[in-house]
């Protein structure tokens, strides 16, 4: 089957798109690059995206100037890179493939929650018409750690009574690489 490329996911665009600090954008970008390089992919790798019933492909890329690969390899481990790398790719995918054009954050007891929103919202209502974004990452899928079960798991964690917000579940797998996006309304 012909692999039609729908577009590019540029890790260097994270700061602009996600409206996070330069430091946070750098952290997400580096974690994602670490995970892709760890799985022996190179700049320009194609990522397969399963969105609803559709399968599309994107090219992942990043600027290589000023990227110190030795320092990068020492700065992350598999756990960090999987978690934050998946966040980077999920954010880029959601901005690319949904009508949302902004990312909002809120704090929880264990970390930062991501929400999908709109740039043109009132300056006092950041979560107006927002949707929740649930992200999960897997470095290397295997029999006991599958993307499909992660998606089911995430969908089940959002209770059936949760009707106020649409919920996007994105699970990213780095070794193949591919991502599954599911919208639970």
């Amino acid at each position: 089957m012909e692999e039609y490329i729908s577009g590019s996911l540029r890790l260097d665009d994270l700061q602009t798109l996600a409206q996070v600090t330069e430091g946070k954008a750098k952290h997400l970008r580096e974690a994602s690059i670490w995970a892709l390089l760890f799985c022996e992919h190179s700049n320009g790798v194609k990522i397969r995206v399963l969105d609803g019933g559709n399968q599309v492909f994107y090219v992942m890329n990043w600027r290589e100037e000023n990227l110190d690969l030795d320092a990068l390899s020492r700065s992350y481990n598999q756990d960090d890179a999987t978690e934050f790398g998946a966040e980077a790719i999920a954010i880029l995918l959601c901005i690319e493939r949904t009508s949302y054009d902004a990312v909002e954050r809120s704090s929880t007891t264990t970390g930062i929650d991501y929400w999908l929103g709109f740039k043109d919202r009132s300056p006092n209502e950041p979560f107006h018409r927002a949707g929740r974004l649930e992200i999960s990452g897997i470095m290397r899928e295997n029999q006991s750690n599958k993307v499909s079960t992660r998606v089911k798991e995430k969908l089940r964690q959002t209770k059936p009574t949760d009707r106020t917000f649409p919920v996007y579940v994105v699970v990213v797998e780095f070794s193949q690489p591919y991502a599954t996006m599911v919208l639970k309304t």
Binding site: S107, Q157, T161, F165
Partner: protein, 384 residues
């Protein structure tokens, strides 16, 4: 005029930095950043009037601010922010999250006020719930968990030492000698117990097969147990799987954690606290056994693709237990109290010794799933 958008993103930037410092172990800096973030997030939340038009932003901001207060250990501020969030018109899920946060805050306040001064080689477990409402915990709630926590400690130690999963026999003498775990104190008129672990004193073993190849600090065993429990109780319990190279150890950990977890009304929270670098490290296990079963079950390796999760509950006497021969499962037989019907139930080997065998000849409640006509055990508990 200052808007939410002027304050909230700055608060989140500070919160990101705070979590980053906490990950690196710089608790002092993390706490200071959480406090700075809280000040901004609280200001942002207070800009919105408590009316329906402000939702869901208002309640999300209050929940976020209360979480920052919780992380900065400012429990009074967290209480106040939760109350403010609930006083508006929060959507159902944010309302539930605010209520859950209130329980966490209450529990942490209790931990802080338990009157126990811990040092670096001690570890505290505390129970909270209706069974402890008058400052006394029924002994079975406490002792049962003391036993399971002890098993969890030694299983985690064996895993970190790189030992293969032990399906029979007890803990080796060498491990017991080097990693003694003591119950230090039951707190009077309370529902807390502290454990103390000794520091290993290494001597060459006369039995080379028993010799411990790697040295693992007991503190790191406690840290590992606490980290795993925190992941299990968090929003991404599926990430726990990634910490285990051995599926049997993983299933054993989840099985023991379910036994330790709150059982509903009687015990609603099980908390742990340790001290590292002079800073308290608390973990609250708030998910009930049922909630953990729901959260973790789909990523269990032994649930084959396409299998349907349909829990069946049986009550009766656990009459017979046999360990596995060569397979991954042992079997137990359960005689239903009311009907006398006998069920043969397969038990993952990871649960056989530590979770199921202690219930032999007891009146139990067993939750199973059915797969290809066979019953597989998911959970067992005393039928009280």
């Amino acid at each position: 005029m200052t808007t939410v958008n002027d304050l909230h993103p700055k608060a989140m930037d500070l919160a990101e930095m705070a979590f980053c410092h906490r990950r690196k172990g710089d608790e002092e800096k993390a706490k200071s950043l959480f406090t700075d973030a809280l000040r901004l997030e609280q200001q942002a939340a207070l800009l919105l009037p408590a009316d329906r038009a402000s939702e869901p932003s208002r309640s999300i901001l209050f929940r976020s601010a209360a979480s920052l207060a919780y992380n900065g250990r400012d429990y009074e501020a967290a209480d106040w922010l939760i109350a403010n969030g609930l006083a508006g018109f929060p959507p159902p899920e944010i309302k539930e999250e605010l209520k859950n946060l209130y329980e966490d805050v209450n529990f942490m306040r209790h931990l802080a006020a338990s009157g126990i001064s811990l040092n670096e080689n001690q570890w505290l477990m505390t129970l909270s719930g209706n069974a402890t409402a008058y400052g006394l915990a029924p002994v079975d709630h406490l002792m049962f968990r003391v036993e399971k926590v002890t098993i969890l400690f030694y299983r985690t130690l064996e895993r970190l030492l790189g030992k293969p999963y032990r399906t029979s026999r007890g803990i080796s003498k060498e491990i017991r000698d080097n990693y003694a775990l003591y119950v230090k104190a039951f707190v009077p008129a309370s529902f807390a117990v502290s454990f103390q672990f000794g520091q290993p004193h290494w001597q060459l073993s006369l039995l080379p097969e028993d010799e411990i190849a790697n040295i693992v600090a007991p503190e790191s065993v406690v840290d590992e147990v606490m980290d795993c429990l925190q992941i299990l109780d968090g929003s991404q319990p599926e990430n726990l799987r990634g910490k285990f190279n051995d599926e049997t150890y993983y299933e054993n950990f989840v099985g023991l954690a379910k036994q330790i977890a709150p059982d509903g009304d009687s015990i609603q929270l099980v908390g742990f606290k340790s001290i590292r670098n002079g800073q308290e490290k608390p973990v609250a296990l708030r998910k009930s056994r049922e909630a953990l079963r729901e959260a973790i079950q789909p990523v269990r390796a032994n649930l084959s693709e396409g299998a349907i999760w349909q829990p069946n509950t049986y009550r009766g006497i656990l009459k017979y237990a046999s360990s596995a021969g060569v397979g991954k499962h042992g079997t137990v037989k359960l005689t239903e109290t009311e009907t006398g019907v006998v069920h043969e139930i397969r038990v993952p080997i990871a649960l056989m010794k530590d979770v199921v065998q202690p219930y032999y000849e007891e009146l139990v409640k067993v939750v199973t799933r059915s797969e290809k006509g066979k019953l597989y055990l998911e959970e067992v508990s005393l039928d009280s």
